[in-house]
Symmetry: C2
DNA sequence: CCTTAGTCTTGATAAATATCAATTCAAGCT
DNA sequence: AGCTTGAATTGATATTTATCAAGACTAAGG
């Protein structure tokens, strides 16, 4: 029996919330039509506006989601293993709203969108998981909107650092996971201003060297950043 | 048999995509636990951070969704009849990310979130509709993010006017559906700047008098606004 | 080890946007 | 009609953010 995807990749995908609870039969049906590909860095995987033929899963490496308008471009999110992207376009059978490119050498799984929709209709667990995932995605974007509209760029950076710190289990020093240029775009500012913003945060106990961050005065930084569960929490 | 909601409200709700395809039995089960309430203007229905006990439906009037942080406030969306709001919080059983207040005298239906989740699990059509709706909401917020990050405030206003015009079936004049103060907040600018932005758009053939808008030179406005399907289209 | 290309930083300046203060305007009320 | 209240506008100014140009730093390749 031919399978489009190496079985060695199954466990990673099965481990995602999205696929964890569905029946073996349906999971295998999805895998059968899917395939996996390795891409070099800086390869555009998706162009916004194209029809959404596949649900994508980053198995290794990392992928940037970005959007363009009128010769301007902005970074929308970075996707890291193991997770899916452009689920919404897949289930709606609508054109992609964002483009995607690899940031580094990446391994990507591709599941035909129409298979996703078909299995959705016959597997209640999968349906449940898709709803949960979509609701989560929606809430993330709403939080991001609040961040953009309610905070200055300096406040956004300060809170970004606190969020990043949480991801690193509260360590007082850590490395930025992306280039500063990209971080600037994600935070809605220019690289020049990000540079100046880092400098301004010195007075709140932030030390920066290359992409290594040290938080020297946690309390002071938090007093300035005022992180909020309703903007900065991943879960919930 | 007691029903918490007047049967006269059933057709409006049943007419929503969300409830159109589900079985009568399940629809009635949902209605049984629900109720309807009339609210005066400027009543806060929901406070962000509160647990999401109900899925809300605007039957008449209008509701503003807004968010606050650090004594600042921003308008996130206006909800008009007949549509639901805070679906994502309901299905995730997570706290509301936005607050809601009536803009005018409004009639609101309240469906217990746990009933929504329960019926989701037993009615495949309802499940499908929820996914479609959530994906749509997600895509709307993504478009809004692109609007905010890729455009200046003047460009956002110009494109808002073009979108509004489409809603009015392309009429060359129409009324703004919300106060300018609120529009400014929704577009991420101050009322003062909105005022000046309207003035700047005069040179592209926009005439404003009170809340009445005339588009005198469609082509010129579009040349400046450069509307994009991937930001400004409602559908897709 | 040097070169090269790109990112990052810095300073100077310009543009966009916000704030503050003062009117003007409009709608609702008595 | 006159009054009251809040929205909308306008001008002056301040702050924030972007742009432009130059130089410093860094990592990859010959």
């Amino acid at each position: 029996m031919y399978l489009g995807m190496p079985e060695s990749d199954f466990p990673d995908i099965r481990g995602l919330h999205l696929f964890a609870e569905m029946s073996d039969e349906h999971f295998l049906a999805l895998m059968r039509g899917s395939y996996v590909q390795n891409f070099p860095p800086q390869i555009q995987l998706i162009e916004e506006g194209d029809p959404s033929d596949f649900l994508h899963i980053v198995l290794s490496g990392s992928v940037e989601l970005f959007s363009s308008w009128n010769h301007r471009e902005t970074s929308m999110a970075t996707v890291r293993p193991v997770s899916t992207f452009i689920l919404a376009a897949s289930v709606r059978d609508a054109p992609y709203l964002m483009s995607a490119r690899t940031l580094e050498k990446s391994r990507i799984a591709l599941i035909p969108s129409q298979d996703v929709r078909a299995v959705f209709d016959i597997d209640a667990h999968f349906a449940r998981a898709i709803v949960t995932e979509l609701a989560q995605c929606y809430r993330s974007v709403v939080k991001n909107t609040k961040d953009l509209k309610l905070r200055t760029s300096l406040e956004r950076l300060a809170n970004y650092l606190l969020r990043q710190q949480k991801r690193e289990n509260g360590a007082s020093e850590f490395d930025l996971p992306i280039e500063k240029r990209l971080l600037a775009s994600f935070l809605g500012m220019t690289p020049e201003n990000l540079s100046r913003a880092f400098k301004s945060l010195k007075s709140y106990g932030i030390h920066v060297s290359g992409n290594h961050i040290k938080i020297l005065d946690q309390e002071d930084l938090e007093k300035f950043a005022r992180p909020s569960a309703l903007i900065d929490d991943f879960r919930s």
